[in-house]
């Protein structure tokens, strides 16, 4: 430790040391934080069109879960033959919902949440309607995609 000395010089050196260390730390932290942010792989955002099988394989008044990207989607063929699709993720706490043919509702087993066949939350804790998906039927095959 210097006993005496030019205070200005000392302060300058301390500043250089501090600023240098700070620059170094940010130069290391920035890439690390960026690295930890997972890159967009496409599968994640689910912006593709997915086939959900043939219409005729799905009975009237029934529903099934299909893979949509890495999320589940529910495809329902209503009694009136209309095909509907939603993300099967409950808007309450994220459980996967299922179709109840008897009551004709979409039901979440976790906290007894219910949605009607337009995906509107009708009872239980879910705060919002299910996210609807676009349904496109070509040659009897159901294609689902995210609504633009």
């Amino acid at each position: 430790m210097p006993e005496s000395g030019d205070k200005g010089r000392r302060r300058f050196l301390n500043f250089v040391l501090g600023a240098g260390s700070l620059t170094f730390l940010s130069a290391v932290t920035y890439p690390v934080l960026k690295y930890l942010t997972p890159p967009d792989t496409g599968a994640e955002s689910g912006n593709e069109t997915v086939s959900a099988g043939k219409v005729n394989d799905l009975a009237l008044n029934s529903g099934k879960i299909v893979k949509f990207g890495n999320q589940p989607a529910i495809v329902i063929r209503r009694q009136d033959n209309e095909v509907k699709a939603f993300l099967a993720v409950c808007t309450h706490l994220g459980c996967t919902v299922q179709y109840m043919p008897a009551d004709r509702v979409i039901w979440c087993a976790c906290h007894n949440g219910k949605y009607d066949l337009n995906g509107i939350n009708i009872s239980g804790p879910p705060p919002r309607p299910l996210t609807p998906l676009k349904v496109n039927i070509q040659n009897d095959e159901i294609f689902i995609s995210r609504e633009a």
């Binding site: 430790m1 170094f24 890439p31 690390v32 960026k34 690295y35 930890l36 942010t37 997972p38 890159p39």
Partner: protein, 362 residues
Amino acid sequence: MPLRSVPEKAYRWLDERMGLEDIFAFLRHKEVPQSSSSIWYYFGGVSLFLFLVQVTTGILLLMYYRPGTASSYESLQFIVSKVNFGWLVRDIHSWSANLMVLCVMIHMFSVFFLKSYRKPRELTWMSGMLLLVLVLTFGFSGYLLPWNQLAFFATKVGTDMTGSVPLIGDYVLKVVRGGQDVTGATLSRFFGLHVAVLPGIFTLVLSFHLFLLQRQGMSQPVDWEDLPPERKPVMPFFPNFVLREFIFWMCALAVINALAVFFPWELGIKADPFASAPAGIRPEWYFMFMFQSLKFLPAHVGPLEGEFLGLMLFNLAGVVWFFLPFWDRSGGRGGTARLVTWLGVFVVVYILVMTVLGYLLS
């Protein structure tokens, strides 16, 4: 409450519980000998720094790496091409590993030539040797993890040697490879070794090594033996030595960064267990001298297999080297021990010559 007292209070609180004052007092009084050979004192510290770099980048790689024959190569491809700065993290991990082997070697040989292994530092030397072996095992096991062609065959050749040991060779080979051949089972074993077994053991041995270093202080040059204390120049450990050490660390990081940017590691092509070995297949540079020596041996020496004999000789040399503080009794603490020095020179020259030959002849 004035602001300044907050850190002060925190410090007080911790001090009461951990006795920080003692630690700082120790650091304030700790001194490092200053001599013409002081430069060599920094390589141990740099090795430590590189180990920390390896731990950090290794953990980062684990966030995306998926071991398995169907996913290792693919996940690495993902890391280097899709993940932000993934190429940088992977390159730093590889380059820093190589630099670490180099620094550990330099550290070992400087300790050897400065005779710093002598009493009371026998245990420091032996734990250091253990660390060297662990570093090499780290390198060998990590090399396979990208599951590319070069790694696959390097592992085949590297593990094949254990098979030449009489009687138990077959068994050892099976244990190392997790079967008769290098397969996904080998990959799993090496992965576990690389990220779980070795880090644990390494940390223990390293702590012991550093503990001894703190207890004994840095060794003084041999020719200081007869000097009066006032003629032995020293430097305070903190902050003088620490700041200098820090500069070395930053230089090492700069070198690694430059290497990573200008000489990125190729991922190569994915390993195919049914393809034949590519031409010019060779081990990592730090195994080259052994690889080359084994090549020079004839297939059979008397009743023994050449490869096995070579391996035994290397192992024997390793054991002799490990126990160095116990057979170098020449001259006690202050002697120059010419013979030992010449032996060291011979070993260094041998390693250099064999390494160069290895690259020239292949």
